[in-house]
């Protein structure tokens, strides 16, 4: 049944999907968060996502920390410095996960005598999305905040990623995978392009475990969000689709199984805001 539903996915909403493929050591692949990431240019999920973003700093901080693989100070002494900066950056400005990771990459392991760490940024972040307009928005933003030399932009379908096998350290997608028609294909493609040892991470709306919280969340989703969509964006239907598509997406454990079926190992998830969103992680070994 889920496959049938997947077949209906509104392709316009798939425009929100973005794959950032990154060659940076500590992985950074992130889907582009719409609206606030790219100002008012991106349409769509701002309203639905904002609730998730209210746990915003925690969410992004957790995500970035997850990707870097460990707590501050655990791996290399210099990493601690990197983490500190990332946290401050998060608190001081908005930005997509990709942008934040790019900044993190820029300041990773500064060496003495470095005039401008950006010039020596190791690794590369590739943002891949099926929608050229979204990529353009991202490009403009990257230029504006001085990360143009770290990120490259590629048009492509997450179900058929235009890159070779075993070429990336990390692959991430945020708030995009539920808009893809064939989620299993996206997972298989992510597995394919990752190097052995590479990590896949997915941030997506998920199932709220607590029944009271779930009821409140559902009431807000179905009663309020489409109304806000109509009043603020002249568009009831897209926001109705949004809240429905969230419910259509498999719950956390089922999505973990889907990741395992694609070949990922060490698969686990972490809930945010009681399950409103969840970060799933898996490795290619």
């Amino acid at each position: 049944m889920n496959k049938d539903i997947n077949a209906f996915r509104n392709r316009e909403m798939a425009a929100l999907t973005c794959h950032v493929l990154c060659r940076v050591r500590t992985v950074l692949v992130s889907p582009i968060l719409p609206a606030r990431c790219f100002g008012k240019e991106a349409s769509g999920v701002a309203v639905g996502v904002s609730r998730c973003r209210s746990s915003g700093v925690v969410l992004r901080g957790q995500f970035a920390r997850h990707l870097a693989g460990g707590r501050a100070g655990e791996e290399k002494p210099k990493t601690h410095f990197g983490f500190q900066d990332v946290t401050e950056e998060e608190k001081s400005q908005m930005g997509d996960v990709a942008i934040r990771i790019a900044r993190f990459a820029k300041i990773l392991r500064p060496r003495p005598g470095d005039a401008d760490p950006a010039q020596r940024a190791e690794g590369q972040i590739i943002v891949c999305d099926i929608n050229k307009a979204m990529l353009n928005v991202g490009e403009r933003k990257a230029e504006r905040i001085g990360l143009a030399n770290v990120i490259t932009w590629k048009e492509g379908n997450a179900e058929d990623i235009p890159f070779d096998d075993n070429s990336f350290d990390a692959c991430t997608i945020a708030f995009g995978i539920r808009n893809c028609t064939h989620v299993e294909k996206v997972l298989q493609e992510a597995y394919r392009v990752l190097k052995p040892g590479g990590r896949f991470m997915c941030l997506e709306f998920s199932l709220v475990k607590n029944s009271l919280l779930r009821w409140l969340y559902d009431q807000y989703s179905f009663q309020v969000i489409p109304v806000l969509g109509q009043v603020l964006a002249r568009d009831w239907d897209s926001y109705q689709y949004l809240v429905e598509s969230i419910r259509q997406f498999p719950p956390q454990e089922e999505f973990e199984d889907m990741m395992r079926e694609a070949g990922f190992q060490g698969v686990y998830h972490e809930n945010l805001t009681g399950g409103v969103c969840a970060i799933h992680s898996g490795f290619k070994l």
């Binding site: 049938d4 209906f8 009431q219 109304v227 009831w236």
Partner: protein
């Protein structure tokens, strides 16, 4: 699968309904079923809304329409959502009139596809049809800009609302009012008093706040008394089957419906 895709792409609302029927209920999706009433489109474009959603839409659309008058869709939504008591009254007024009954039976639509505007332009001066096209041309408006009704939960009442919306320009014509602010307020008064729609009455009461002093003077001394008189004394203009009256003399139309001549500028 292709058929299903075609349904989904061509009729988003119905596609959703179709999807919903395919979906097996599990705890994840139960919530959607419980919080939303079963999705049934009573007419194309219909969106079922709960009382809470209607309340939120009413408040939201009022605030947004005041904040940004260019949001004509907010005025439309507001009319639909707040007109729940007015629409049955309008419907009854149409049922009690022979011509109104005919309109309800045949449910004509008023737009540039159903009405031959060029033919109307060539009608003799002083006819309803000629005056209507003159109004459209002088004020730069088109009959095609009326939004479809979406939030009324009854197909008959939805038609009444749609007819009211499509006949707005004809109201202007019959009353002889232009689309400037004072003219719009005058039309809103007549519409509001005849239909009982809160959106019209609310708009007529709130919009004068934006008048400049000269407009306000003109409004208070000349336009408002005339508009109120027509609103109270005039016959229900929506009972006019306009499509059959294009060649009627406008003055005769006004006499028939007890509409006073518009005050001279």
């Amino acid at each position: 699968m292709d058929f299903v895709l075609a349904v989904a792409q061509n009729a988003p609302g119905r596609g959703r309904m179709f999807v919903r029927q395919l979906v097996q209920s599990d705890s994840h999706q139960d919530a959607a079923e419980q919080t939303e009433s079963p999705e049934e489109e009573l007419y194309p474009g219909h969106i079922r809304t709960t009382p809470l959603q209607k309340a939120l839409l009413g408040v939201g659309s009022t605030l947004m329409a005041l904040y940004s008058p260019a949001r004509d869709d907010m005025v439309a939504v507001n009319g639909e959502v707040t007109g729940m008591l007015a629409l049955p009254w309008m419907h009854r007024k149409m049922l009690e009139d022979a011509e109104g009954q005919q309109i309800l039976r045949e449910k004509p639509k008023l737009n540039s596809y159903t009405v031959d505007l060029d033919a109307l332009r060539s009608l003799p001066e002083g006819t309803l049809g000629r005056a209507y096209t003159q109004f459209l041309d002088v004020n730069g408006v088109s009959p095609d800009t009326r939004l479809p009704v979406r939030f009324v939960d009854d197909p008959e009442l939805a038609y009444v609302m749609q007819r009211y919306r499509e006949a707005h320009d004809l109201m202007h014509t019959v009353l002889g009012m232009n689309t400037k602010l004072v003219g719009e307020v005058a039309v809103k008064w007549v519409e509001g008093l005849q239909t009982g729609l809160p959106m019209c009455l609310g708009g007529a009461l709130m919009a004068p706040i934006r008048f400049r002093p000269k407009q306000r003077k003109d409004y208070v001394t000349r336009v408002l008394p005339w508009a109120l008189k027509n609103g109270f004394k005039g016959k229900f203009i929506l009972n006019a089957y306009f499509e059959k009256r294009w060649s009627q003399d406008l003055n005769d139309f006004r006499k028939e419906f007890n509409i006073q001549e518009p005050p001279s500028a």
